[in-house]
């Protein structure tokens, strides 16, 4: 006899005893007199939450004694206050130590659906549940023949109740569906180690009709398992021990409820309007507590500003009159010719000319937006990091317009390869601090900026330059940059009569120019999106900044966000390398990580060599000197064209985001192509930027 058989036999015996004192007819009268059952369906499936069914359970055959629970009503109230959507009360007395008295106490104490959980095999038990005010009952497929399952389910529905039909195999799910179950409990515990097996859950839950509510029924202890199940598609979860034995059951339930809300929010659509803090499992705020106040303030000031027409007007006015927006969309027929010759295609290529913005790159869009927020917050000092110097220049520019004190942190190596931009920042009145800690590149500049921010957060705003970092930066910077794609879409339609592009190419360091041009197209699946990381000397060389290719980045937390990260097997940040200072970063914006996982954007890389070759191609064919960062997108256009050809396109329209101009890179390129004599090269080397070096405290 299996344990299940024993439990069923015991439950039947106990029921027969009760029936002797209260015959079925009398019970039915009581049931009819009971207040109507609540419709549990709407509690168990919610668009913005993962409903929690919290269980009142003293013991189980597998875990033995769990807790005395002297006052089930109080526990039920705790669950309800914590945000539970339903309460499951064990009424089996022999092994689970429950009772109908427990049920009555809980029923009287709460205003949410209550489920009778027992080994139900007879009509009598269903009527009994209803007579005690139950809204739901549990039916276990493994304990019932098909015809019994059907008649008990029908009776449950007839009495206005909802049945949670427990299954743990594909076959049982099929049986449950065949008799009309509407709420299916799926037990997906891996029976070897008893952990939640999400893959098994996905297998089991696959192909269930959308109107069936899926309840993950076992192994949910806390937020970890809830998140696993919810991401695998569970509508609701049932939790026992994790809440019943918690020191503070209300807190335990509320943690589960907020974890569920977080998962739902993290996957909200449409993609183009998705808001942080989470992009799928990525994003968040992995920061010192000391920064939470400043991030909260920034978030609320930004929310307020977004809804304020005068803010939007001022932003648009500055974009038009100061930055020179809209930036042109230029057709590049001779550059397209080179691509077409190489790939064997008839593509038209258009360049989105962010290089023509004031200060020479897309960075000004974001710097201006945040600058306006700094004024709104009443802060007087701005700090920023910069890699290639473009964001530093944009920030210094904005601080000059708004009269803000400005300090730019720049890694020593970057300051040397971008000496001209260091001088520009100084001309604009900024203090440039050359960071000599760590690897002396972009990430070290960010570390130093974060240390400054933690210390001076009261009067200082950290004007982060990309769609990375802690919430709200990824969403906010995206919003300030999305004008790129909006304009490109309109220009293509209005000026060239093309309804929509077939492909977009952008380079991806932190990812702000890429998000900026892609945002408008994210929800149009006919547009192929391509992001190109800095391939340096190639993925095998270990000298690159490729985060997305297999064997490169891993899931990690870096500088405020969860995303892909280049790290050692110990979790230490790996050194990165790229000829382009602006793409030389160990992590990547969380939204990109999410878009990568869902396959919406195709990420690949361009090596130094490929980027420099495309750099020269554009110079020679179109008379445009692009930034080396943007040259990675141009090199990518060749790869995208090959991919489009493989997909069957013959005359694709490709937009490449030229995120910045290449004046700052002329020395690097001159050396690369051998246009400078040794003497000239040495003179440039000697002409290093002399930042005041910063050793920290």
């Amino acid at each position: 006899m299996t344990v299940l058989d024993q439990l069923v036999a015991g439950a039947r015996e106990d029921q027969e005893l009760r029936e002797q004192t209260l015959p079925l007819e009398a019970l039915q009268e009581l049931a009819k007199a009971a207040p109507a059952a609540m419709d549990a369906h709407r509690w168990l499936k919610q668009s913005k939450a993962v409903p929690v069914i919290a269980e009142i359970k003293r013991a189980s055959p597998s875990k033995g004694h769990l807790g005395d629970i002297p006052d089930p009503a109080a526990l039920g109230r705790d669950y309800e206050r914590g945000g539970a959507s339903a309460i499951s009360v064990l009424t089996e007395g022999r092994r689970f130590l429950g009772s109908l008295q427990d049920f009555d106490q809980v029923r009287a104490a709460v205003h949410i659906p209550v489920m009778r959980k027992d080994f139900i095999v007879s009509d009598y038990q269903i009527w009994e549940a209803r007579a005690h005010g139950a809204d739901m009952v549990l039916l276990i497929v493994a304990a019932l023949e098909d015809q019994d399952l059907k008649s008990l389910l029908d009776l449950t529905h007839q009495l206005g109740m909802t049945a949670l039909v427990e299954t743990h195999s594909r076959e049982e799910i099929d049986r449950a569906m065949a008799v009309g179950a509407r709420v299916i409990g799926i037990n997906a515990r891996n029976l070897k180690d008893l952990r939640v097996d999400v893959h098994r859950y996905q297998e089991l839950a696959a192909d269930l009709p959308v109107d069936v509510i899926r309840v993950a029924e076992s192994g949910v202890f806390g937020p970890i398992e809830l998140e696993d199940y919810a991401r695998a598609g569970a509508d609701a979860v049932l939790v026992g021990e994790g809440v019943a034995t918690a020191e503070d059951p209300q807190l335990a339930v509320s943690r589960l409820v907020s974890a569920g809300a977080r998962v739902k929010a993290s996957e909200s659509r449409p993609l183009g309007q998705h808001e942080g803090p989470y992009f799928g499992q990525y994003g968040g705020r992995y920061v010192p507590e000391a920064l939470v106040g400043a991030l909260d303030e920034l978030e609320s000031v930004y929310e307020e500003a977004k809804a304020d027409p005068s803010f939007l007007e001022e932003f648009a006015r500055l974009n038009r009159r100061y930055v020179g927006r809209p930036s042109p969309l230029t057709e590049a027929p001779r550059f397209a010719g080179r691509i077409n010759d190489q790939v064997g295609l008839k593509a038209r290529v258009f360049l989105k000319r962010e290089d023509l913005n004031h200060t020479g790159a897309h960075k000004i869009n974001n710097a201006l937006g945040q600058g306006l927020l700094v004024k709104r917050m009443g802060k007087t000092r701005v700090i920023a990091e910069t890699g290639a110097g473009q964001h530093g220049v944009a920030t210094a520019t904005v601080c000059a317009i708004f009269g803000l004190r400005c300090r730019i942190y720049m890694g020593q190596i970057d300051a040397r390869r971008q000496a001209l931009n260091v001088a520009r920042m100084r001309l604009l009145g900024a203090e440039v601090v050359e960071v000599t800690q760590g690897t002396r590149i972009l990430k070290d500049a960010i570390n130093e900026a974060l240390r400054d921010w933690v210390t001076n957060v009261k009067d200082t705003h950290y004007l982060l330059g990309t769609v990375a970092g802690p919430h709200p930066f990824p969403s906010m910077v995206r919003d300030f940059q999305k004008v790129i794609g909006e304009e490109a879409s309109e220009q293509l339609r209005e000026e060239y009569g093309i309804a929509s592009p077939d492909a977009i190419c952008a380079c991806v360091g932190g990812g702000s120019n890429a998000i900026g041009i892609m945002n408008a197209f994210l929800d149009d699946p006919s547009v192929n999106l391509y992001g190109y990381e800095a391939g340096g000397h190639g993925p095998q060389s270990g000298e690159h900044a490729i985060r997305f290719a297999p064997g490169t980045g891993e899931l990690g937390l870096f500088q405020g966000a969860k995303s892909y990260l280049l790290e050692t097997d110990e979790g230490q940040t790996l050194d990165t390398y790229s000829i382009s200072a602006g793409l030389d970063y160990a992590s990547v914006g969380p939204e990109h990580a999410w878009l990568r996982d869902m396959g919406r954007v195709n990420y690949s890389w361009a090596t130094d060599e490929e980027a420099m070759s495309a750099f020269k191609d554009l110079c020679e064919t179109e008379g445009i000197i692009p930034a080396i960062e943007s040259s990675h997108a141009l090199a990518g256009a060749y790869k995208a064209a090959a991919d489009l050809k493989a997909k069957g396109y013959e005359h694709p329209t490709i937009i490449v985001n030229v995120s910045g101009r290449g004046d700052k890179d002329v020395a690097t390129a001159g050396k690369w192509f051998g246009y400078l004599t040794d003497e000239q090269s040495q003179a440039l080397e000697a002409n290093e930027a002399q930042g005041s070096s910063r050793e920290g405290e």
Binding site: A142, D193, I224
Partner: protein, 299 residues
């Protein structure tokens, strides 16, 4: 049917040992020690040293030294490549440790050592290191070594769902931080999710020694207690016995880091000092701090 799975619980196969952990109800080890100090009307002396600095063996000797010179709880730091909450001294120590080939798995030896000395072993780590090791794996290995809890400078309770669940299952302390500008709401969130004690930063900023300690930490300790924290310990900037006495008058524990680490660095602050010389300085510094802190409430 090969097995019966009932009511959400597997009843077939091995019972008990294979089950996922439930709540571990052991009392908070940090709390127990802070209570014992309280019973003697003493604040606790909490000392920080990074594991692996100046090298693995040297760090064990250093840790043993502070344990023998008055420390009640030890915060063992895990060196990290990007320590955004640390000032120059601890940055240098972390860099030296990493250059010397520090490996995380070795830290459990330090944990055992602290436990064997009778002090309470805590680990302070930037979260990516724990995350990458695997939160559950780390908690298991740490608890097995006798570890008490984690101090998490860049993990706020809002992001700590996994750690809260795992620490509850292993009976480990969760020490979150508050800072002088934390709002009432934040203080409540931190106090409500911490276990053991709350780490109050004495000022806005990164780790490092200070000439003087302002009065603001006392206010922060009071407001953190009002927000529901039972025990509040103060860190950032304490470097002398006198400062320790000043802070110990109102805090449940006084946390000292850079001043101890500093003993093991040479005058440039960038390289390690001769180890024996450093250990002697460290012993003297610990004695000074221990005296100051432990007699804070005698006057």
């Amino acid at each position: 049917m090969s097995q019966s799975v009932i009511g959400g619980n597997a009843v077939a196969g091995g019972v008990g040992k294979d089950q996922p952990l439930g709540f571990n109800h052991r009392p908070s080890p940090s709390r127990v020690r802070l209570d014992a100090c309280e019973a003697k009307d003493q604040p606790a002396f909490i000392g920080y040293l990074p594991y692996g600095f100046p090298n693995a063996e040297g760090s064990l000797q250093a840790i043993e030294t502070i344990c023998r010179h008055g420390v009640d709880l030890v915060e063992i730091g895990l060196p990290y490549s990007d320590p955004v909450m640390d000032g120059q001294v601890i940055q240098s120590a972390a860099r030296i440790a990493l250059d010397q080939g520090e490996r995380i798995a070795g830290v459990f030896e330090a944990v055992e050592l602290v436990a064997a000395c009778g002090a309470v072993p805590l680990i302070m780590s930037y979260w990516n290191l724990i995350f990458h090791y695997g939160v559950e794996n780390f908690a298991r290995d740490f608890a097995n070594a006798g570890g008490a809890g984690l101090i998490t400078p860049d993990l706020i309770p809002d992001e700590a769902g996994e750690w809260i669940e795992v620490s509850d299952q292993h009976g480990l302390d969760r020490i979150f931080m508050v800072s002088p500008d934390s709002s009432q709401d934040r203080l409540k969130t931190v106090a409500g999710n911490s276990r053991g004690f709350v780490y109050a930063a004495s000022r806005m900023g990164v780790t490092g020694e200070q000439e003087s300690i302002s009065a603001s930490p006392q206010t922060l300790v009071e407001t953190t207690r009002q927000a529901g924290a039972d025990k509040v310990c103060v860190g950032l900037g304490v470097s002398t016995g006198d400062q320790g006495a000043q802070v110990g008058a109102y805090a449940d524990g006084v946390i000292v880091g850079s001043a101890l680490v500093h003993c093991l660095l040479d005058d440039s602050g960038r390289r390690s000092r001769d180890l024996q010389e450093g250990l002697n300085l460290l012993a003297a510094k610990s004695d000074e701090l221990s005296l100051g802190i432990h007699t804070a409430r005698l006057s």
